[in-house]
């Protein structure tokens, strides 16, 4: 009898030991993704369009690890993100501007800043005009200057593109680059950073503004008052038209949303943020 009890004990010890070994191996292999093991829920994210590439990359990694999770990502702009998370329609609402005190008070929002981003004035790559002063920029966007010739370019009309009213990118550009000057009513309205980039790269006489993380060979960033917009100049503070990328939750983040935010702020997340052209913060 005693022998059998011992044997049973040995067997259990062996099983436990093996299990421990498996757990340790699992931990080493999965890194930060293993917090998502066993989750079966749905995570709803919406809001700022500048955040979307990072959100999609993170979602791809997480779902690749645990296919039972469903992550839904929508755009809509910073205003939409704040509103929807406040109303409980989504779990995480992204915004490219800080939520106002009124919004925070009304919904009880908790903000987490996970990157810094710049907003650059951009044109088509084949446009000979490469730099503008603040004054010229304001005049172009308000409609006072209407031809590229007046700022050193070809004889061609300037096509102004702007964002919709819910856009955080727009409010930052309006406040810091245009110094709150009017934007002409005749400007073409596009609904996201991606849409702005598409429109600008298809129109050789265009001017618009886009998140620095979105700039690639399809558009050319304009030098503003002598400062070139780039990740470096935004980080150093030399380029002043910058904003934080926030993710807001209603109250403290819980469950899957909390794990997602922690993943974003961890080393894996920071690498993703850097890869997409933004500057990660702590």
């Amino acid at each position: 009898m005693k022998f059998e009890k011992n044997k049973r004990g040995v067997v259990w010890a062996g099983i436990l030991g093996l299990a421990l070994v498996f757990c340790m191996t699992g931990l080493c292999l999965a890194g930060e993704l293993d917090v998502f093991t066993g989750e079966k829920q749905v995570l709803r994210i919406s809001g700022g369009t500048a955040h979307i590439p990072v959100m999609k990359a993170a979602a791809q990694k997480i779902i690749g690890f645990n296919p039972d999770i469903q992550i839904i990502i929508a755009g809509g702009g910073s205003g939409a993100g704040i509103k929807q998370v406040g109303e409980g329609l989504v779990d995480i609402g992204n915004s490219g501007r800080q939520a106002t005190d009124a919004e925070v008070a009304k919904y009880g929002l908790k903000m987490v800043k996970w990157a810094i981003d710049g907003v650059a004035a951009v044109t088509h790559p084949q446009n000979p005009v490469k730099s503008l002063s603040s004054m010229q920029l304001q005049d172009i966007f308000s409609g006072k200057i209407t031809s590229w010739k007046d700022v050193g370019g070809k004889e061609a009309p300037i096509n102004v593109y702007t964002r919709d009213a819910a856009s955080g990118t727009r409010s930052v550009f309006w406040e810091k680059a245009l110094k709150k000057a009017d934007i002409t009513e005749k400007a073409n309205v596009v609904v996201s950073n991606g849409a702005m980039k598409t429109a600008l790269s298809n129109d050789p006489y265009s001017i618009g503004y886009v998140s620095v993380g979105f700039i690639d060979q399809g558009v050319a960033a304009l030098v503003l008052d002598g400062v070139t917009p780039s990740m470096a100049s935004v980080k150093s503070g030399e380029y002043t038209v910058a904003r934080g990328l926030f993710s807001n939750t209603k109250g403290e983040a819980q469950g899957l949303a909390k794990k997602f935010m922690e993943y974003l702020l961890g080393p894996d997340g920071r690498a993703l943020v850097l890869d997409k052209g933004f500057i990660p913060v702590n």
Partner: protein, 294 residues
């Protein structure tokens, strides 16, 4: 008297218009084919995930059309299940039971329903969702169910009109047969009239399916998003093929995504054309069979 000159001019005008129309249509299709043919492979639909992994839902597909196609399929099924019984019943009522005055009034109302722009229907669906979310159901968001309901409202007038027209255009002799044998009106409808009108009704259903597959404005407001994977339940957000095309057209991240957009256009046109051809031949073949019998 129409002089030979005007005669010639008129014929020229008709030919010219036809050539312009055909030419434009061919340019559009040709443009899409040229730009999109490089994208037409399994990679367009399944991205980097393998075919079997994706179809048995073992792994999720990114950068592929599969979730969008699955979403559109679920949407179509749900909307048709909601719209067909309602439309069929209403059409039967209008064709068989309604007095002329009642018929006039209701077909006026349904003409108005048919004329409502799709985005207004979408706005209605979105507002209802909001209202219900704030008042009763805290967990209700714009989702597959709401989109399917709104789409059902959109195709309802087509179903009603098709059913009504199909039943009304049946020959009078058919209507006299069953009652003369002692059947009630209901039996006459179910056993004689409906089967005779079935082909037209079926082609109407297929046209409604086509309408559901292609509509973007309604689903844009009621639950279609850019990234959601396969819909888990009727209460989840979803992707859809026409919404994917719209999304890509305004915000493609790089050239390969744009080519995928062209490929998606070709896939959508293929689906819609197939549905149209199916409905056309269904109507033609079965009505020929009908002609033979009478």
């Amino acid at each position: 008297m129409v002089s030979p000159f005007w005669d010639r001019a008129f014929r020229l005008f008709a030919w010219g218009c036809s050539l312009v129309l055909m030419g434009t249509f061919l340019i559009i299709i040709g443009f899409l084919c040229i730009k999109g043919y490089t994208a037409l492979n399994l990679r367009l639909i399944f991205g980097d995930t393998g075919f079997w992994d994706a179809v048995v839902l073992r792994r999720q597909v990114f950068d592929g059309l599969f979730p969008a196609m699955a979403g559109t399929l679920c949407l179509i099924l749900l909307s048709v299940v909601l719209a067909v019984p309602l439309g069929l019943s209403t059409g039967i009522f209008l064709a068989e039971y309604a007095s002329p005055r009642v018929k006039w009034f209701f077909s006026f109302v349904f003409d108005i329903l048919a004329g409502i722009p799709s985005i207004v229907v979408g706005l209605f669906g979105f507002s209802i969702t909001l209202f219900l979310h704030q008042s009763f159901f805290d967990r209700l968001y714009p989702c597959l169910l709401i989109s399917a309901l709104s789409l059902a409202f959109l195709v309802l007038p087509y179903m009603i009109r098709t059913t009504q027209m199909a039943l009304e255009s049946l020959p009078a002799s058919l209507r006299l047969t069953a009652p003369s044998l002692g059947a009630t009106q209901l039996q006459s409808i179910v056993y004689v009239l409906l089967p005779a009108a079935l082909s037209t009704i079926l082609s109407g259903i297929i046209l409604s399916i086509g309408r559901c597959a292609e509509d973007t404005a309604v689903i844009m407001l009621t639950g279609a998003v850019a990234t959601a994977g396969i819909p888990r339940s009727v209460f989840s957000s979803f992707e859809a093929l026409p919404f994917y095309i719209y999304y890509i057209s305004s915000q493609y991240a790089d050239h390969s995504e744009l080519i995928n957009g062209y490929g998606a256009c070709l896939v959508l046109i293929f689906i819609c054309m197939n549905l149209f051809v199916l409905s056309h031949f269904l109507k033609k073949r079965l009505s020929q069979k009908l002609l033979f019998r009478h």
